[in-house]
Amino acid sequence: MEAKHKYAFYLGCIAPNRYPGSEAAAIKTSRKLGIELVPLKGASCCPAPGAFGSIDLNVWYAMAARNLVLAEQMKTDIALLCNGCYKSIWEVNHKLKHNDELRDGVNEVLKTIDMEYKGSINVYHLAELLYDKNIVGVDKVRDSVTNPLKGARIAVHYGCHLIKPRKDREFEATEILNTESPTWMEELVGALGATPVEYRQKMQCCGAGGGVRGYDIVHALDIANEKLINLQEVGVDALTDICPFCQLQFDRGQIEIEEKFGVKYNLPVLHYCELLGLAQGMSPQDLALDLHAISCEPFLQKVL
């Protein structure tokens, strides 16, 4: 089926440079769902909202604006697959659109590289597009499944920066505005034939954000560890996320947690795009799952 919706695919850093499988999966799977993702050439780091936001918000605005302008020049809306990137790209776009003073300031800087932010495009998270029935919707996702992930118990980590703070966000699918007890990701997981699993403190942060993972890794890991304990309590085969940074924190984090706290979980952590890939018949090799710090094997045996 040919693509009805075309987006400039904003990659960010961690997906292409650590989990290339999710990048590959995103492109392949969304094509099957009528979404064409074209590369956003020359895009840079979003830049990391925690780091840059902390140092100087003006730099954050300007750097994010540069990425936005690249898409404006393509006259194409942006789609991305990382909550952190969403925070930078969507929120800066939103702020600049609604705050002239800010926009003028940013354009001042962009002038030095012959760019101008116009505010002519929108920014979307892939997960949002998959759930929005006007674009794809749960049913279409279900229909696209050729290899249902039967019998797999999968928990969802929503992360923070896609949905919080709710009062600033604008989603076509209003279910996404629920920040206390959302279930739309569970619906998407269910659509893949897997069993979504609820657990304590589902909405808690992964602990990596705001530069904390770099500043005080033990502190950051302890937050992740609390979630892993809660996940262990209900027993799941895998944890899925829509943010490569959260994924890094839970995947690599488990190794670090083992080193620092001496506890082992071996809980596979997959980006939803990777899950969707598997469900649409992509092989673990197509997804480079071997790059994950925690082996996905036990999970794969269950579902393949």
């Binding site: 009062k167 629920n178 920040t179 206390e180 007890s181 609820e198 304590r200 403190q201």
Partner: protein, 704 residues
Amino acid sequence: MAERKTKKETASKKETTATATKQAPAKLAIGEQPAKAKEARIGVFICHCGTNIAGSMDINAVQDYAKTIPNVAYVDNYKYMCSMPGQAVIDKAIHENKLTGVVVAACSPRLHEPTFRTATKEGGLNPFKFEMANIREQNSWVHMHDQEGATDKAKDAVRIAVAKASLLEDLFPKSVPVERAAMVVGAGVAGMQAALDLANAGIKTYLIEKTPTIGGRMSQLDKTFPTLDCSQCILTPKMVDVGRSENIELMTYCDVESVEGYIGNFDVTIRKKARGVLTPKEAEAKGFVGGGCNGCGDCETACPVIQPNTFEEGMKPRKAIYIQHPQVVPLIYTIDKESCIKCGICVTVCGTEKRAIDLDQEDEFVKVKVGTAILATGYDIFPIENKTEWGYKRYENVITSLEFERLICASGPTGGHMVRPSDGVAPKKVAFLLCAGSRDNTGIGKPYCSRFCCMYSLKHAHQLIEKMPGCQPYIFYMDIRSFGKMYEEFYYRIQDEGAKFIRGRVSNILEDPVSKNLMVFADDTLLDRPMKLEVDLVVLAAAVQPAADTNRTRKLFGVSCSMDGWLLEAHPKLNPCGTTTAGVFLAGACQGPKDIPDTVASAEGAASAASIPIHTGHVELEPYFAQCIDEKCAGCGMCVNLCPYSALALIEKDGRKVMQVTEAKCKGCGTCGGFCPGGAIWMNHFATPQIIAQIDAFLLGGEQ
């Protein structure tokens, strides 16, 4: 405002004719300076209002300028014009300078126009020869940092006022008789108290209640703070009195459908919703002597349809034919038309003696005439599930304070056994969340303080400690607002009884999927440590909001509301029961959150205010009605349809069609006058020449 004025005024009343026609003197081309304006002698009096006005503008400059305005014969200023000596200044000046009109530059006419009209009258002029220039509310107070701007604006304001004063005419308020009956809308404790007071003052009172029984919110409560009286015990006597009172015509299960007329003469249409059950009176009217509902309840037992009982906050079932609780007044059953399946079993069991049930009964409309009306429409609980972080409706054991009242009440769904919804087990640890949805500026909750939550939560804590030894209440608060008589002492007592007070607002609640216990997250701001408290039950002291159909009702009576929907009083301090619609008053929580003592007090206030015009027997209406200048009227009749009160009509007069105003119906809005293509409609006190003169004075007069 009309009746406030008339209270102050004693203008010699010339009985005006039923219809009004403007005579020659007003035959003015628009803008043309009438002769009388030229010989007008206006006195201007500038008020300092202490430093309120003098502090932000140059009074002397205004005074010097006023002297230069055409028609100004005298100028003076005084520290407080509204004071007795201040008014004496006006009186004296009128006599000594043969003034024909008075301008006072001071506060808002909405505040002191009556005062100065009286002063003008004392001076021997018609009180309507007075015009006010508002240089406080709309000048000195809003331009505090702009002396020059304020002074210039004051000069213009005076000039504009003088221009109008020069053209003002003698007017005579019209006196209308007041119907010797009153209406109270809403039969909660406020409505009942107001109705009883009116009735006891000998006034026939219609008490309108939308639900099948009177009693309102108070009848849902178990105990009342700080005295811990049983709510029902102190309320039921009143309910019975209301039912018995000769002067009260109790109309339950009724809605106000429409309101016409004005103070003294409101024509109200009431919808009697089809109850499906006949009262003994109605039965008799139908010829079933000795018939009608006697509240035996056989029908209820027989009825097969089960519905949640709203009075019990849905925690108890009721039938399609029901009474809400044993103490209802009147004791007449009601059929819930939505859920009734018309199986007819109730008709059979009711039997051929009573023949009380009429499944095909239809709504009826009743018209009543009243002199004054009191709105007592009360409050609802804010839909607290909108604050998703506390999981109301998501977690079984998170309940509202009103649900708590029913659960702890001996006549409630559990017979007074305090148990939690999930498993019927008595809770050992209970968390009370104060300001749940109140003091919330997110746009989801309510920005205001709901005022009685602190106190009833203290009472709830006391009830737990008293009823269930070993049960520990935790009260999560930001501030305990125990402002009433004996309230702080009550707070002291509950603290002494062992309730634990945690100064922190609960951020969110998580439910244990197995035990259904609740994890309450908060910051003990005094200990400066985040806390995670496992409790069996959470009670949300949910914010309150105006009752569901308040907005509909208030519009029928032409009453305004504040931004959050509470009905707007005429003056927040000096006229809390009045409204901007003469003859309509407010009682209880419809005006803003109130606890029972305040509600009853405001109800008695409203009752007394509403009884004054009725006892006076007549009210004087502002003589602001429209008149037709026959010479100018082309008889096009376009104005006739514009009038919202159908006060205008076309009549034959000396062989031609002209419009005629029925004064009694005209409320003086001037919508007709604003439209008339021929300028043939003269609006008393707001006549076209007068307003044009004001505009000209501002733009053409003055120092260019």
